[in-house]
Each structure stands twice: as C-alpha cells, then as structure tokens.
Symmetry: C2
Subunit: 324 residues, 2 copies
C-alpha cells in the first residue's frame, strides 16, 4: 500500500474525539470513517459518521480500526467481533482481566487473519512497558506507580451513582512525601493510603443530605475507604467552570541496587493537560505498529510489551538512527 494508513474510529466519546483531533498530526495516516451506536453528533472533521452495524462494509477501506469504547461493556464484545474483520487497537484497561481479554481477541484476530493490539494507552500501556524495562534491568529493586494529580473518570463515575449526586469530579493526588522518600533512595512498603489522597468535588441535588453523600463516598469500598478522602460540595456553575477538563499524569519509579549498594534510580513521568488526547495519541502510534505487523503477515493479538518499538515510528528502521 503506497498511500496513507487508513484509520477508522469506533466509538465517539472523549477518546474517539481525541483520535479525530490528533490524527492530523500524523502525516502517514488519514481518518476515513467513524462508527457509533448513538445518533451521530456533529463531528469535528469531514468524514462520514455511520452506524456501527455498517462497519463490516468498510473491511477493504480501513487498514486499522481504533476501538474507542469503554472497557466495562463495549470492548469485551466489540473487540473480538471487530478483530475478525479489521486490524484493531484498543485501550482495554481492566487490568485484572487483560489475560482473558487478550486470549479472546487473539482467537478472533487469528481467525480473521488480522493483528490486534490491546490495552494500549498509558496505564495499562506506557507504564506497563516501563515497569517491564525497569524490573528486567535492575531486578534487585522495587517499582512504584503513582497516579495524578489528575481526574480519575472511574472514581468520578462511582460518586455520580450515589443518590442525590448530580455531578462529580474526583482528583487522585500522589503524596509528594512518599515520592520523595523513594527518590531519596528508600524502598518503603507503602499502603494505598500512604501513596495517594482523593479530592472530590460534588454537585448535590437540592434537598439531598450532604452529610449522607459525604459518608457514602468516604466509606465506599475499593474506591475510597482505603484513602484519606476530602469532599467539597460546589455549585453546578463552579463545576462547569473549574472542573470540566481532564488532566492527569503519574510516575513509575524504580529504586534498585547494583554492586555493593550502589543505588540506581529510574523514573518515568507524565504530566498531561488532556488525558483523552494523550491516550488517543498513544493509540495512533500503535495503529501504525499494527499496520506494520499486519504488512509483515503477522496475525493475532499483542500487547505493547510484544511490539518492537521501531514499528511505532513513521521514520521506520532507516530513519531512527538519528534518534539513537
């Protein structure tokens, strides 16, 4: 194929819109169609927006389909179905279920003779890569992951499900003193509470008991009960003005030793003004890799851990030595 890599988007939420906005920055790719189950919203670009059921007709017109749906309901069903038709890239992020998800997508991709790269993004994704590199290089050490400061959409959603809550934004905040201990060479055992705090902005329905909402948030198992959580009730106006963006970030830090006690510290960090736009950008780089793998005749599902880094670069094998 001598032209550009033809990209399709399935799912037109934050992530799909991010792909739509970022693809123009990749000269070797073009967006050819977007698919959604909802009534089409006005897209930012001039490509057709179609019902997801018509995607199959685009089999020969799309090189890689980016699956931008959610991990809870969309992807477990969509990814195997699409992997039978297209090369795919997705951001499935339910960590504990990645092995079984990978297996299901792998079987579908093999039967469709396609390549699928699953669980692409920054965590899982780039952070997974970093944890692998760090642990493989300095095995005598400990790896820590901190998230934030940023908006956790999962935690915000969990608050929104509480009776009497109309809007919610939850910030995950790393505890700077814990990060500093590791950067200073310690390898402490840290509980969840010692690594992050949670800060919640909530708009309550008129007449709702603020005390009850606050208690329900703070006692929510898994999401909040293991953390020091602060809840602020604010107006809808303040919420829309101050808390509608989706910044995020985080750090993977490995503190290890070589020789007779020489400390070796490796750190990878992200500071993102827009989490969905960054994640979209990672998806696009791996779309290139999926296309390259498929061009070589490979089939099946992969994670970022399996993909040779050079396949992400539009410069290819020749061009990258300037980067070495």
């Amino acid at each position: 194929m001598s032209g550009k890599i033809r990209i399709g988007i399935c799912g037109y939420g934050n992530l799909g819109r991010g792909v739509e906005s970022e693809i123009v920055k990749h000269n070797d790719m073009e967006l050819v169609a977007m698919f959604t189950r909802r009534k089409a919203l006005a897209p930012a670009s001039n490509v057709p927006v179609l019902h997801v059921d018509s995607a199959r007709e685009w089999k020969d017109k799309i090189d890689v389909m980016l699956l931008c749906g959610g991990s809870a309901k969309d992807l477990p069903e969509q990814a195997p179905a699409f992997a039978r038709i297209f090369n795919t890239v997705d951001s499935f992020d339910t960590h504990a279920r990645i092995p079984q998800y990978l297996q299901a997508v792998n079987e579908a991709a093999i039967s469709g003779k396609n390549v699928s790269i699953v669980s692409v993004g920054w965590d899982p994704g780039l952070f997974s890569l970093m944890r692998l590199y760090m642990g493989a290089i300095i095995p005598q050490g400990q790896t820590y992951t901190f998230w934030g400061e940023g908006v956790s959409q999962g935690h915000s959603d969990a608050i929104r499900k509480i009776d009497g809550v109309t809007q919610a934004t939850q910030y995950t905040i790393p505890i700077e003193s814990a990060l500093q201990r590791i950067r200073n060479g310690e390898t402490p055992d840290l509980t969840a509470r010692e690594k992050h705090t949670r800060l919640c902005y909530v708009v309550a329905a008129s007449g709702a008991s603020l005390e009850k909402i606050e208690r329900e948030i703070k006692e929510m198992p898994n999401y909040f009960s293991d953390y020091d959580t602060t809840v602020h009730f604010i107006s809808a106006e303040e919420m829309n003005a101050k808390h509608s963006r989706l910044p995020h970030g985080g750090n993977v830090i490995h503190m290890g030793q070589t020789g007779g006690g020489n400390k070796q510290q490796i750190e990878f960090s992200l500071k993102l003004d827009s989490n969905p736009e960054f994640t979209s950008s990672v998806l696009l780089a791996y779309a290139r890799a999926a296309y390259m793998l498929a061009s070589k005749g490979e089939v099946g599902a992969r994670t970022v851990l399996d993909v040779p880094p050079v396949l992400l670069s539009p410069l290819g094998g020749e061009g990258v030595f300037g980067l070495v």
Copy 2:
C-alpha cells in the same frame, strides 16, 4: 536448552567487572568464562579468565557473549569477528557511526547464523528508546536530552591527554533552569552552553603551568570550548578520596501539544550511583533478549529499537501480565 543462559564476557574493564558483579542477580543466567587480551587480573568470581584468542573454542559452551571493550578501538574489530561465532551484545556508543557499525555486525551475524544486539546501554540505549516512543506518540513537540550530573569518561580522558596532567575527572552538569523551563511547558531552542556546564578536577604534575593547562582545557574544541567550564586543581589524595566513583544520569524530556494547545509532557530520568554497573545491567537484560531471539531462529544485528520489550523479562510472555 533447559538450563541457564550461559554468558561469556570479553573485556575486563569497568564494564566487564560490572557484568561479573550483576549477573548473580539474574537467576536464569550464569557466567561461564571471561576473555581478555591483558594479563588476567584476579577476577571477583570463580570462572576461568582466558586469552581472547581462545574464545572460539567456547562456541558451544556460551549462549551469549557480552562484548565489554571500548567503542574507539575494540568493538569495530571485535564485534564482527565475534558475531560470526557467538550471539553478542555490545555497548558501541559512537552515535554517528552506529548505522555503519550495525551493518558490519549484521553481515557477520547473518553469516554466523547468530543474533547481535548493538549499542546497548542508556545512551545510546534506553534514551534512544525514549526518544523514539516520545516522538512517535506526540509528533508535535520537541525532545530534549540532558546528561548528568555525572562523570563523563570521554571528557576526563581528553583532559588526561594534556601535557602536565596526571589525573582528571570531568563532571557534566545539566543547567537546572533550562530543565525547569521545559518542565514548565516551554520549548526553547537551547545551545550547548545553555544546557550543560562542565566541572573539571585536575591533578597536575609538579612544575606544570596550571594557567596553560586551564587554558588548554577551556579552549578544547567540541569537548569544552562551547561550554562554561570550571577547572579546579587538586591533590592526588583528594582526587582518589573524592572523585574515583563513576556516578551519572540524565533526563529525556518531551514537551508536546495535542488538541488546541493542551500541553503533554513525558520525562524519563536516571540517577545512577554507578554508571558501569547500570550499563552492565542493561547489557544483561538484552543478553536475555538476544538468547530469546536466537532461540526463535532469528539471525542478524538489531538495536534496542528492534527488540520486543517482553524478551527482556525473565517472566516471559505469561508472567508479565501482573506487570500490566
């Protein structure tokens, strides 16, 4: 092969000694022999130390040979010669010559039906990987590399060649305010002088002109003339007491944009108490990858950019999902 990966070391300088000290931390590897051209120094471990000319006899007893010689004279000759006999990993670090070096080693490795991974370490090596990932993901942006604070062996060597100098240690120091500008979201064009300063500790021969040595250092093209350089003359005792270690480190920072001006910052940093021990650890992880690639029947030379990350991990494909 059901046993451990059998490693040989060629070259018993700082790097060879680093591999010797670090290999015990990798349960799936064992050191079987070391080769040197010099009269063997007493090794720290109990493996045979042999003359480099006898290496060929170990063809069937060594899975991967780590070439720990220097880039100026040793590797351009040794690497192609060894690649005909063994799978090899080396740390060739003359950036501008990597393409032609890769080609020479590739031809030898193909003729020997071996796998060679070249230019492994942290720069070139991990930093190359980071520059590739960062630029591929956020193409609208700029990548900066800072080195230090740490000892540059090349610059220390350059000072030692000056008449009247008996010992020298040169520290490369990143200019913190330049780093901060980028972390704050700027993408400045920085000259060499604006990124790093150079701090030199020198022991002079008795009777030598300190003024002349200092001028020769500061005016040395490529190495010092483009930098703000400070020279301190100290005693041999102070040099040995305070400046005999080899710490190093550095940062790769990418500052880019997505959407309508959202800033996206990616940073990778190393703080290393021992540069040779860290580089050795990277070599060992890639020795595992070379072994895995060879086990799959691949042949030829690769850089870190070509190697699927999962091959670095002793946990293999199954075990890493805990890391995702």
